[in-house]
């Protein structure tokens, strides 16, 4: 279960930013998780809640924006949601598809 080590990375970054901004407490951490990552949002939320107990982050909510797997057709430029890994453009039926969303694993912002 690597959600724990991902949580550790989130907490390290958040603590660094709290130091920089002089924040003593925190309300929210916003992150972005793509559909094609191997990260389970519910597990991540559980790990986060568990590991911030007794720290400066205690009480902060983890706000997860889930990003769907999205493609763009190289032929006609159409952007669309990829479901079932089918990679055919719904507009022109082209098959040369560039993936433009779904692999994100980003820390977006903090609120305190």
């Amino acid at each position: 279960m690597h959600e724990m080590s991902i949580t550790r990375s989130i907490v390290e970054t958040v603590e660094r930013e709290m130091d920089r901004a002089g924040l003593a407490r925190l309300d929210k951490v916003r992150i972005r998780v793509g559909e094609l990552t191997a990260v389970e949002p519910d597990v991540l939320r559980f790990c986060f809640e568990t590991s911030i107990k007794g720290t400066r982050l205690e009480g902060a909510a983890l706000d997860i924006e889930e990003v769907p797997l999205t493609g763009r057709c190289r032929a006609c430029g159409e952007s669309f949601r990829i479901t079932g890994f089918a990679s055919v453009c719904p507009k022109c039926k082209g098959t040369d598809i560039e993936r433009i969303g779904g692999t994100e694993l980003d820390i977006v912002s903090i609120e305190g």
């Binding site: 080590s5 990375s9 970054t13 820390i107 903090i110």
Partner: protein
């Protein structure tokens, strides 16, 4: 209350170290692969078979082995005359770039190697997110696992450059459909190079080793 924008990758620190690993390997002309699979798919057996094939091609390589416990795998590999370093991850389910950075001095101490093979912890989920600094990730799956595996673990198949489908000798005894497996893998990642092997009989390992030797050679030109 105000919002402070951060906008960086959660694993930015790992990615930084991975980039340093990649540069250090490149400077010494060493190509590297990161082999991932479910436990028991045949990663170690594949490396053992590769030892013979690559030796015949005159290509020397070293292996870094990731396991939760023990040094059984590195011992298996050393028996084939290939230098192997065991990293035990304790309870961690994957290798990370930091662990590899500590293994690099050992790698650079090996005589005239052109290829580093990293055998990751047997796990099809967690290693997908951790760049180690390798040139390509290679997924191994086996015919006893089911041909729908790519659809169940898309992240790892999507992060890989090559797929080795192992245990072809057992396929007749299972419901595994090779064409469907290939279709599923290419659906998730149209750029995958797919190889079929049996590490028990040695069938198909030559084609995989030849392809890999080609990558090592091309890597040197860059």
């Amino acid at each position: 209350m105000h919002e402070i924008l951060i906008e960086e990758k959660i694993l930015a620190r790992n990615d930084e170290i991975a980039a340093r690993n990649r540069n250090a390997l490149k400077e010494r002309g060493i190509y590297s692969i990161n082999i991932v699979s479910a436990p028991g798919a045949g990663k170690t057996s594949l490396i053992e078979r590769m030892a013979g094939e690559l030796k015949n091609m005159g290509l020397r390589f070293a292996v870094v082995e990731g396991d939760l416990e023990g040094d059984f795998d590195s011992k298996r590999i050393e028996r084939h005359g290939v230098p192997a370093l065991q990293i035990t991850t304790g309870r961690a389910c994957h290798l990370d770039a930091h662990q590899i950075s500590h293994a690099l001095p050992w790698v650079f101490g090996q005589d005239s190697i052109e290829l580093l093979v990293i055998e990751n912890v047997g796990n099809m989920v967690c290693p997908a997110e951790y760049d180690l600094g390798e040139d390509i990730m290679v997924t191994v799956m086996s015919t006893t696992e089911g041909d729908d595996k790519p659809l169940k673990y898309p992240a790892i198949f999507s992060a890989s450059g090559a797929l080795v489908i192992n245990k072809t000798d057992l396929a007749p005894h299972t419901d595994f459909d090779m064409n469907r497996a290939r279709e599923n893998a290419l659906k998730v990642n149209p750029y995958l190079k797919i190889f079929e092997t049996s590490c028990r009989t040695g069938s198909g390992v030559g084609a995989w080793a030849t392809y890999l030797a080609g990558l090592v050679k091309d890597g040197k030109k860059k």
